[in-house]
Symmetry: C2
Subunit: 386 residues, 2 copies
């Protein structure tokens, strides 16, 4: 099943830029959330949108364990690789119904999400016509950052009223609720993340209780984000937790206090190709195409530019960051004083820690895997698109 | 040679998100720059990093015409599709020499770029050892935005001194100079772009004259960016002009006054999947993964968020922009007054004009081609990575 390719190369033999994954760090990150959640009675349903790789995902859980995806292409791919219990966590639209039906015919146990009566009505009608039974979660808005029905809203029961009460007969049936406290990415302290986790939990549980009072079993209460999963003090009433970035971590998570810099498993290997010595600039061959345009730390207390520069062993070089980017050029400079930028010789290899693992990984077609040294252990392919 | 797939579908039959290219608009854009440059004695060497597609590139020029690329993967791909006169416009590093040699063995007439003595020395040595003859342009810094040797710098002649004077014998030989006035993207008026174009031209020509005074033929003077290519009043002394974004155009170019909104050939088709009515938000299934994280208009006089919302025919809906994005969710809202956001029904198809054609196109594996209507004319694949 694996496309894994074993190599005997070193990082220094690569053409750059290249996406490097330290699997030793990754395995620690995976273990950390596993251990943390084991104290609660919840299922981890990892979000595989971050890694889009069967090789990475097998380190999280064996095929067959529950997963979350953000596109039907991810659902299709992970189904082909043996995962069939799949939550598609973006509101379903009618132009995806046929694809959903095709995935179910291939054996997917898909769960869908919606937050409005139009989607519930059209999905229910489609499922009746096609004699398909599909579980549906109503998305709950617990933090105001995106989609979802507020836990208190009358709309919650209106949407529920368009769905079946169980899988006893074919159709779209209400399996419960899901929420994602994406606002946790804007928290400025771990106390704030704890509070956000409680808000996320309480809102989802409250919505589920309203549904149960109205006669629905609503067995599923699905919550999660990487920050709240790591700081929730109670998960009472929650049945499953979703998180994705925690596998790799990144500078945004480091800025939030969810991880430290040494927990970041992902980096972009690049080569020094020139200098602007008078400006204190070191120019590399990893621009925004290799890092993505994500500037997620720009609004945090420490702006990391396009990323933190490390040596080839992954050790950060003090105060050296990627301050700007062209498509295929990176500009590396001392954070505070360009005069202190070390003029690393042309040909020097650097590893740049990314702001956001999801967006940087998406710029690459695979992971070059190491485990604490410069030895390349494997090349793991990943995919993109829809 | 073409991977073109002819279809008889309509835009409304697509699963979303999808990248839409209006080839009628594109052809106009291509013709416009062709016509403009025909008044000057220069060669157009289009930058294909924007489109990364043989199908698009054939509309610009037949295989065999001169091209510019930003990665050796682009060089490899376009060589396979018949283009052999290729400028690789990013400073060369030693870990790419073997790839360069392999491309030359396959028939590429590659031109390389560098701006420092270390690269010149190592490349010259490699070429001597391998008995390879490769033309080199010294990158000139005419605007302070990135790489390159200032036109007046003593370094120019130091670098030149490490290169051969002609292709009469094997080795790396100095074919001339190249510069890219990327600072033109930050101009706030067309007058400023005109001035930047003259600065770009004058700096490159001056550098070439210094080299000629030192005994080098330096036949090539390569300049260009989409803004300066459209506003240069003189190209005296210039031998070739490079531009890439002009084929598609985008909101950044519109903000600069280089094109109008109706000249933008690229858009992302998406579907309304929900609302937050009290906030005036329409939620779609095109997030930053479909648009990219590029916020290039954020520093312009009109911030277009993640893009301008159009109806399925590509007509902008007044003041409707994509104000925020999650990975697979877009938030559409009235630019000034959320209360005026039209609550477009769930299922409505929208087309979002991108800030930056290069970065948005890079998020997709192909173009769905239309020509002024909703009829899909073709699917053109594109590639990414290194």
């Amino acid at each position: 099943m694996s496309n894994e390719v074993i190599t005997t190369m070193q990082l220094s033999e690569l053409e750059t830029p290249a996406l490097i994954l330290d699997s030793a760090i990754m395995d620690q990150n995976i273990q950390r959330l596993h251990d943390r959640l084991s104290q609660f009675k919840v299922t981890l349903r990892p979000h595989l949108k971050t890694n889009k790789s069967a090789d990475v995902s097998r380190r999280i859980g064996e095929p067959g364990t529950p997963i979350t995806v953000s596109t039907l292409k991810e659902a299709e791919y992970f189904l082909q690789h043996g995962w069939n219990d799949i939550l598609y966590a973006v509101g379903i639209a009618a132009n995806k119904f046929a694809h959903v039906a095709s995935l179910m015919q291939k054996g997917a146990r898909l769960t869908l999400v919606l937050d409005n009566t139009e989607s519930a009505r059209t999905l229910a009608q489609f499922c009746r016509e096609q004699a398909i039974t599909v579980p549906v979660l109503i998305e709950i808005d617990t933090d105001g950052h995106r989609s979802g029905v507020p836990p208190e809203a009358p709309l919650l029961l209106e949407v529920a009223g368009l769905l079946g009460r169980s899988d006893a007969e074919s159709g779209a049936w209400l399996a419960g609720v899901m929420t994602h406290a994406g606002a946790s990415y804007a928290c400025t302290s771990t106390e704030a993340i704890e509070a956000m986790a409680e808000q996320e939990r309480a809102g989802a549980v409250h919505a589920a209780q309203r549904l149960r009072s109205a006669g629905y079993a609503a067995p599923v209460v699905s919550v999660g984000s990487t920050p709240t999963a790591h700081f929730a003090r109670s998960l009472d009433g929650v049945t499953e937790v979703r998180a994705g970035v925690y596998v790799f971590f990144d500078l945004v998570m480091r800025g939030l206090g969810v991880c430290s810099e040494s927990d970041i498993a992902l980096s972009v290997l690049c080569t020094v190709i020139g200098h602007q010595k008078e400006k204190g600039w070191v120019i590399t061959d990893a621009g925004w195409m290799a890092m993505s345009r994500d500037r997620g730390t720009a609004t945090q207390s420490v702006d990391q530019g396009y990323g933190v520069a490390c040596n080839i062993d992954g050790q950060p070089i003090p105060d050296l960051v990627m301050i700007d980017a062209n498509q295929e050029h990176g500009i590396i400079c001392h954070r505070h004083d360009p005069g202190q930028t070390p003029m690393l010789p042309v040909g020097t290899l650097l590893r740049i820690l990314p702001n956001h693992a999801c967006s940087t990984a998406a710029q690459h077609s695979g992971y070059v895997v190491v485990a604490g040294t410069q030895d390349i252990k494997a090349n793991w392919p990943r995919f993109s698109g829809w």
